[in-house]
């Protein structure tokens, strides 16, 4: 933490903003123990960024081996490959009260010299004492931690997880590969961050209208599935206007190049 607290607030006041009714929905980072469930952070502490990532791309891959044989292609399906999220984020502007956006870096060693000689520290305060920079250091620290618990010698003794939560999606896994920080002249007063996150477990909370399987998958009052060949979709029913392939196939009318 900087010695003097920044005055500006971040985009989020809490990781609970999603349920605050204020229309905010942060990406929340947590550290879990090796059981994959228990948070290692205090109950009221989770990490939210100064501003949400600018993009989160979900990558999923199947693990399939294909071999050409004299009898044709043989496929071997081995399940899911490693899955990951690619994060791109900006730290948000390094902004200070009375000074506005700042790229001034200062020098802590220079500051110590000033302090030892009775000087003032005012001159050395710059972007390091902004909330955006502070949050950047937080996420960098989480990348370094990555769910590991270390012993006094710095060896990993227990491996836990990082948990990312956003809008009905829970992704449990670890940061992977590089954590790249870019400071460029074209985009001053902030850093661009990119990193990857390996998904070990994914939980989605989806929404749906009510489905009564007894009536929507089966014709009411009968034991006939909705998609039983020969059944004509009722106008206004749940599948009216959608391709009922089973029905159409049975009638022989699908794929037949209707010309009217």
């Amino acid at each position: 933490m900087p010695s003097k607290l920044p005055v500006f607030a971040g985009a989020f006041s809490s990781f609970r903003d999603e349920v605050s009714g204020r229309g905010r929905r942060p990406v929340v980072f947590d550290i879990l123990s090796s059981d994959g469930e228990t948070s290692l952070l205090p109950e009221d502490l989770r990490l939210v960024l100064h501003v949400n990532p600018s993009s989160m791309t979900m990558h999923y891959e199947k693990n399939i081996t294909r071999i050409q044989t004299k009898g044709g292609w043989v496929e071997q399906h081995w399940g899911d490959s490693t899955e990951r999220i690619s994060f791109s984020a900006a730290t948000g502007g390094f902004m200070r009260l009375y000074a506005g956006l700042s790229n001034k870096t200062g020098s802590s060693s220079f500051g110590n010299e000033l302090q030892s000689t009775g000087g003032t520290l005012t001159a050395v305060q710059g972007r390091r004492e902004t909330i955006a920079y502070d949050k950047f250091l937080d996420i960098l620290a989480m990348f370094h931690n990555n769910g590991s618990i270390y012993d006094v010698n710095g060896n990993i003794v227990i491996q836990g997880y990082i948990k990312v939560t956003f809008d009905g999606g829970v992704y449990v896994g670890w940061f992977d590969g590089d954590f790249t920080v870019t400071e460029s002249a074209e985009k001053p007063y902030q850093f661009e961050i990119s990193t990857n996150f390996n998904i070990d477990r994914e939980e989605l909370v989806l929404r749906s209208e009510v489905v009564d399987t007894n009536t929507e998958l089966y014709l009411p009052g009968t034991a006939t599935p909705q998609f039983e060949p020969g059944h004509v979709q009722a106008p206004g029913g749940p599948f009216d206007g959608f391709l009922n392939l089973f029905e159409e196939e049975q009638a022989g009318t699908v794929f037949r190049g209707v010309t009217s």
């Binding site: 229309g23 929905r25 949400n52 990532p53 600018s54 993009s55 791309t57 979900m58 990558h59 999923y60 891959e61 199947k62 399939i64 294909r66 050409q68 044709g72 292609w73 496929e75 399906h77 399940g79 899911d80 956003f166 009905g168 477990r201 994914e202 939980e203 989605l204 909370v205 989806l206 929404r207 749906s208 209208e209 489905v211 399987t213 998958l217 089966y218 034991a223 599935p225 998609f227 060949p229 749940p238 599948f239 009216d240 206007g241 959608f242 391709l243 009922n244 392939l245 089973f246 049975q250 009638a251 022989g252 009318t253 699908v254 794929f255 037949r256 190049g257 209707v258 010309t259 009217s260």
Partner: protein, 403 residues
């Protein structure tokens, strides 16, 4: 947005029972609002539009075993057998799946499937030697009745799952055909051509969902309350009541929107990929491998998803989620019928100036009168079985029948 374009979309939960891998869990909340599809439904009309549709194909080996039918597409020994067996017709596969539906292995009520679920729940996890015919020392993948019931349950769920049509067609469909050959080695006479066949077809698909839109059900005229939410909506004497949930076009309606639910249903298909999972032990050792079929442009591609991507970006806060996937094809069927005459195309949207559209409206009111197109120059085409030609009704609509 014309209200006539709006169509009710299938509930997302219809795809909830598809099995998925061990690392993925999902649950469905009952949403309070209604998903709204803002796209033009007529563009995916089954007959006059261009639907892009996915469906689960059950494992061939299971279909053949449970129907006690030999696989008509299985490799044949001998030139004559192979030649007679060769078929690019999708009919045989459809017929066998229909035969499977008629067997006692497929439940014809939800209660039947529930009984299967109960059987699995009661028997618990492997391994129960009392109901197995194998020794405990040599446990195969399907080791007992519980696991067999698990296979049957997933097969039933796959057959029960309705096809999924994208609300908005992909923005780009890239189909790659590749050779396996070599023309780089040479001898004294020049280069030698070596050919080993073709790669499997790869489909690269990119698309974008619609906006995140959700709404509320109409007010009931008697109580001026939102249906199903008695007392929650303000009784404001004609004013639009506030709702306790997000509506309209905004990020907050993402999970309630038809566009997002459609994407997540597609993602569920990716996760399932036609597999019969070992979800008792939660392993990645799949019990059977079925496949996914894509139907588009009178073609059917049967194969598997290779990968899947979608992304949140700050530019698309109101929807328009970009997604892409790669699909590797095992078998490809071109189902288009031979045409004997090129006729004008019907407009997919209503147009009073389009005479074919007027015809379509008339025919929709008497659909039995329009089972034409199964004859070629008046001769019954044996390949288009199941279609009855009613020549008297067709007369006057198509000039070829007037001759």
């Amino acid at each position: 947005m014309a209200s006539s374009r709006l169509k009710k979309v299938p509930a997302a939960q219809l795809y909830a029972k598809l099995a998925a891998g061990p690392g993925w869990q999902r649950e469905y909340e009952i949403q309070q609002g209604i998903p709204i599809d803002g796209s033009n439904a007529s563009l995916r009309d089954p007959t006059y539009g261009s639907p892009f549709t996915f469906r689960i194909m059950p494992p061939e080996v299971l279909v053949n075993a449970l129907t006690s039918q030999p696989d008509p597409e299985a490799p044949q020994i001998g030139i004559m057998g192979a030649a007679l067996n060769e078929s690019s017709d999708f009919t045989a596969k459809r017929t066998r799946i229909a035969a499977l539906r008629a067997t006692s292995f497929v439940a014809d009520t939800e209660a039947g499937i529930k009984r299967l679920e109960a059987l699995i729940a009661l028997n618990g996890v492997l391994f129960d030697p009392s109901n197995s015919r194998t020794s405990a020392a040599n446990v195969p993948a399907i080791s007992d009745v519980t696991q067999a019931a698990n296979v049957l349950l997933q097969l039933n769920r796959a057959l029960q799952t309705p096809p999924l049509t994208l609300l908005i067609n992909p923005s780009q469909l890239n189909i790659s055909y590749g050779t396996i050959q070599n023309y780089s080695e040479r001898n004294r006479y020049g280069y030698i051509f070596q050919r080993w066949g073709e790669q499997q077809i790869r489909m690269n698909v990119q698309g974008k969902t619609g906006a995140f839109i959700a709404g509320v059900k109409a007010l009931t005229p008697q109580t001026n309350e939102i249906q199903n939410f008695g007392g929650i909506g303000a009784r404001s004497g004609g004013a639009i009541p506030s709702t306790p949930f997000a509506t309209g076009v905004q990020f907050a309606t993402k999970r309630d929107s038809a566009s997002w639910q459609n994407l997540m249903s597609l993602f569920t298909f990716y996760r399932n990929n036609g597999y019969i999972y070992d979800n008792l032990e939660q392993t990645e050792a799949h019990l059977f491998i079925g496949s996914i079929a894509i139907d588009y442009d009178q073609n059917t591609w049967i194969g598997h998803f290779e990968n899947f991507e979608w992304q949140y970006t700050e530019q698309n806060q109101l929807g328009g989620v970009e997604f892409s996937f790669e699909f590797v094809v095992d078998i490809f069927y071109d189902n288009a019928q031979r045409e004997f005459q090129v006729l004008p195309i019907a407009a997919p949207t209503p147009s009073p100036s389009d005479p074919l559209w007027q015809q379509k409206r008339q025919q929709q009111s008497r659909p039995e009168a329009f089972t034409v197109n199964a004859t070629v120059r008046g001769v019954q085409d044996a390949t288009t079985t199941g279609v009855t030609v009613d020549r008297s009704n067709a007369t006057g609509i198509f000039s070829p029948f007037n001759t």
